[in-house]
Amino acid sequence: MDPVQIAPGVYSVGVRDWNIRDFHGYSTDLGSTYNAFLIVDEKIALIDSVKKQFADQLIDNIARIVDPRKIDVVISNHTELDHSGSLARIMHRVGEDKPLYCSKMGAKNLARHFPQQWNYRAVGSGEELKLGRRTLTFLETRMIHWPDSMFSYLREDGILFSSDGFGQHYAGPETFDDEIGDRIMVHAKKYFANILLLYATHIEKLIRQVADMKLNLRMICPDHGVIWRRDPGRIVQAYLDWCRQEPERKAAVIYDTMWHSTEKMAEAINAGIMAAGVPSKPMHLRSWHRSEVMTEVFDARAVVVGSPTLNNGLFPTIADFLCYMKGLKPKNKIGAAFGSYGWSGEAVKLIEGELTDMKIELAQPGLRTQFVPEKAILDTCHEFGFKIGQAVAAAPGAGARAAVGSPGHSRTALNELK
């Protein structure tokens, strides 16, 4: 993609990775972008770089605006290789002795990626770099989402270069939020749910801190996806909402199955939840990518997990998902476990143990069935789902929309009437 002037003398010079589909285990169905920015003032500054294999594109983009050798300073907001992978090429081209600005942890972490003895200038929050007419102010944002992460703020133009914060894995023809509209929010939410969720407390604190700085925020430029310029406050507000982790009145039934028995249970449980008036979705873990499932779980109140027992343990995809979810530390959830087994049936207890470790309150005792669930068992599954749905509807924050369902909707209850 050609470079785009995003403000007078400020250019987006990064690249689009149209065809990436697996970003370190995160499904990127529409690709991603590695954004980098060039500020041309009395001094010329490059903010961030791109993945190693896109170094030529980045250099070509820069060369369409200025001779890369004329870059005076390079700024690394984040050490991760999608933003630093081409630094060796860039520094070689720009000049190995040019100052490389980063956080204190950035200097440590970059040195663990690159053997070059670069001219590191470690900066802390509030430190400034005068470029001429414009000034960059740095803000350390440790653990959002690496220890080295920082933001750079271009005061005169009101542009916040926010590293991975406010990013989205999305590659399309658009450069700005107003060109894509609301469709971008689902990608921003997926990014938050899968990359940032465990640091929600930090992010909330940081946003309050930035609000106190009374910045004149006109544009937020993340390192992935589109630039927020129509209403940067909107994504900031969305982050504040997401940080609170107040789940919606919905559930997700996550399962895998070997001979469709656990699947039948999942369908009946899901139907029961919906009979209580709570939206829910059965998600087969070999059909849905773990990062899609996590996005669904992120704003669901109930996480219902089902696994067959395989060789006395969990089915591997379930173990994968539970491990993934645990690391992201979701809050304010209820859960339950179910599954079919042949002879030993350990899986349900194992799921319950994991959910309890994650401080997910068990809404119902686990439900097991041996081999193929018959009608009576499926009715029990429906009732199990219905009770979970009722618990979701009754949860604090479920609001006026709650309690649509009544026991009369439950299949078991209906059967009793017959």
Binding site: M105, E140, R142, M143, P147, Y199, H202
Partner: protein
């Protein structure tokens, strides 16, 4: 002397090692760290640490 784990990033403070990069001598128990001490990896405060189980 007990080890303490940073609940934010997982860094383990080992009193036997101290945190020499930040002026904490080996042999300093966690309780004796100054209140201004921060996790050397992620910058979390002392309050963000829990005793290693």
């Amino acid at each position: 002397m007990a080890k303490y784990v940073c609940q934010v990033c997982g860094y383990v403070y080992d009193p036997a090692q101290g945190d020499p990069d930040n002026g904490v001598a080996p042999g300093t128990p966690f309780e004796k760290l100054p209140d201004s001490w921060e996790c050397p990896v992620c910058g979390a405060s002392k309050a963000d640490f829990a005793k290693e189980a």
